[in-house]
Amino acid sequence: MKSAIAILTVVAFASVPLWLRDPYLMNALITTGIFIIGAMSLNLLLGFTGQLSLGHIAFFGIGAYVSALTSLGFDVGLPFGFRIVHVPWPPIVGFVLAIVVAGLCGYLVGLLSFRVRGAYFVIVTISFAEVVRLVALNWVELTQGPLALTNIPSITIGLPGLGDLTLRTKLQNYYLVLAVAVVTYVLISRLVHSHFGRAMRGLMENETLAVSVGIDVTRTLTLAAVISAGIAGAAGSLYAHYIRIIDPEVFAFINTVTMVIMVITGGKGSLAGPVVGGMIFGLLPVFLRPIMAPEAQWIAYGGVLIVILFVLPRGIVPSLALRFRKPKSRAETLAPVAFSERDAKEHA
């Protein structure tokens, strides 16, 4: 049943370009797809380990810059007279490097999360993203600062027997993003249903108990942070090669908030949650644009986030799942959230 829905969803998304010809809507779908990949990676941390990272856009932006710089090349002077000269490499190498570098940054932030938890972790992650933004803004020699990196090449993939294919059109990019999104979904799904996923959830629900049964906190949380950051870096790379211009504004806090809203609305700790929330909030601006000023849209965003947290604190997908499941399997449906301490208190 569940896999049938998943396959139908993928088929439906794959068929979109067959009937949708409007380039503006296609563009909105592609950027939404990229943000959904980012939201899925955020959900891995927020929904399955309970760590609220509000600097998630840093990994996305680092991925975008690494990928762009790898494929554009750079020539940077360092202190003590050293210089780094880099000749352009194919964008696909940039894509891989984006994942690796973002993952490394995720490792550093993950290490930090043992020293500081809760509100402090949130503030550290925000600070991390802001420091990265200021570096991108001020290290003009490397990043061009506010002038932005332009003319970023499109991704080229070598197909066996067909030669190289450069993904320039919206149609090609749409399928590329869809493919990466599906891979990400499957990866996260396999991960949370593995031994490692159960360890993460155990830590989120009761850390003391989880540690007492032999779960390694350090290993589990850093691994989750590394994977999450790596996926966000991949999304950033896709973004850079699709939009083909990036500036430090990519690190804006509002982009993290967009991902958080997607996850919370769809349902944190639910695999399909970020996809549902992402489709709503990715496409909402498209429909609101003719009737509302951009500022009013943002007011609505803030308002919707508040209303969702008050009315549907679990998010859309878990609430729907609860409604449509037979009572006997309720516990299973709710597994990601039902046994958290807060719910235990509610049920008590």
């Binding site: 500081v116 600070s127 802001e130 420091v131 943002w298 965003y301």
Partner: protein, 290 residues
């Protein structure tokens, strides 16, 4: 040397308002355990009240400051009553996300109402700065320092010498016991949030005329306030005052001797460094307010 003295003078002026921001946030964080993301918006709000009162209502500059404080107090009370009171007892992440929602909505509201063009407030102070040997400081900045110092002292007396302050300190130590002793905890929460908000608005009203006023001005202010609170230790007012001056000094020296582009990075670097090496803050004496 004279350059260094000038940095010190600038540090004093900045530090005073930073301390106001920090005290407001540390009270809210310490007593209510709420990560107040609307703190920056209240700062912006105070600055805009200053602009409206001086330029649109034509009221005296010195009267505008108390009005901004009162307006901040009212807005803070409204936020607490409508958003935080219903969420009492829910986990800190939920409250945090609700406050982020409120922040986005209010900041976009400011952008909608007042537009993105930066505004400046004309002040009654002479243009020519006061020159003291090698350093110079404008009269406006001196007034800002004096007003901030006065507000800090008033807040200190409020917390340490009044019945309300006593109840706030009791709530910080142990909410349940305070409640048993007859403290109306709901009222304390609303008062705390309102007082913290009015201090943020005061900081905005003071620094707004020094710089320019625009809807996003509060974002950096909020982060600086977080840096100050983390530096000074949770709920520690003296720590927040010292933290405010330390941050101002770090910014002045960073801008003067490293690069002005990284001025605003100082707050973030302080946050990260303090949390890595001394997560309880530099001045953590004991777990209490005051």
């Amino acid at each position: 040397m004279s350059e260094f003295l000038q940095h010190l003078i600038n540090m004093l002026v900045l530090g005073g308002t930073y301390a106001l921001l920090g005290i407001g946030l540390t009270l809210i964080f310490g007593i209510m355990n709420v990560v107040n993301f609307t703190h920056g918006v209240l700062y912006t709000f105070g600055a805009y009240i200053m602009f409206i009162v001086v330029h649109q209502l034509g009221v005296n500059f010195f009267l505008a400051l108390p009005l901004a404080v009162v307006a901040g107090w009212l807005l803070g009370a409204v936020i607490e009553l409508t958003l935080l009171r219903p969420l009492r007892g829910s986990d800190i992440d939920t409250t945090m996300l609700v406050m982020i929602g409120a922040w986005i909505a209010m900041q976009s509201g400011a952008l909608w109402i007042w537009g993105g063009v930066a505004k400046s407030v004309t002040t009654p102070f002479p243009e020519a700065p006061l020159v003291l040997g090698p350093v110079s400081v404008s009269w406006l900045r001196l007034f800002v320092l004096a007003a901030a110092a006065m507000l800090i002292v008033v807040t200190y007396l409020l917390i340490n010498r009044t019945k309300l302050g006593c109840a706030m300190r009791a709530t910080f130590q142990d909410q349940d016991t305070a409640s048993l002793m007859g403290v109306n905890v709901d009222l304390i929460y609303t008062s705390t949030f309102a007082i913290g908000s009015s201090l943020a608005a005061a900081a905005g009203a003071l620094l707004g005329p020094v710089y320019v006023i625009f809807p996003q001005m509060g974002d950096l202010a909020a982060v600086k306030a977080f840096a100050i609170v983390i530096l000074g230790g949770l709920g520690n007012i003296t720590g927040a005052v010292i933290g405010g001056f330390v941050l101002a000094l770090a910014e002045e020296l960073g801008a003067g001797y490293v690069s002005s582009g990284y001025r605003d990075a100082m707050g973030f670097l302080i946050i990260i460094a303090v949390l890595i090496f001394k997560p309880t803050g530099l001045f953590a004496r004991s777990e209490r307010v005051g």
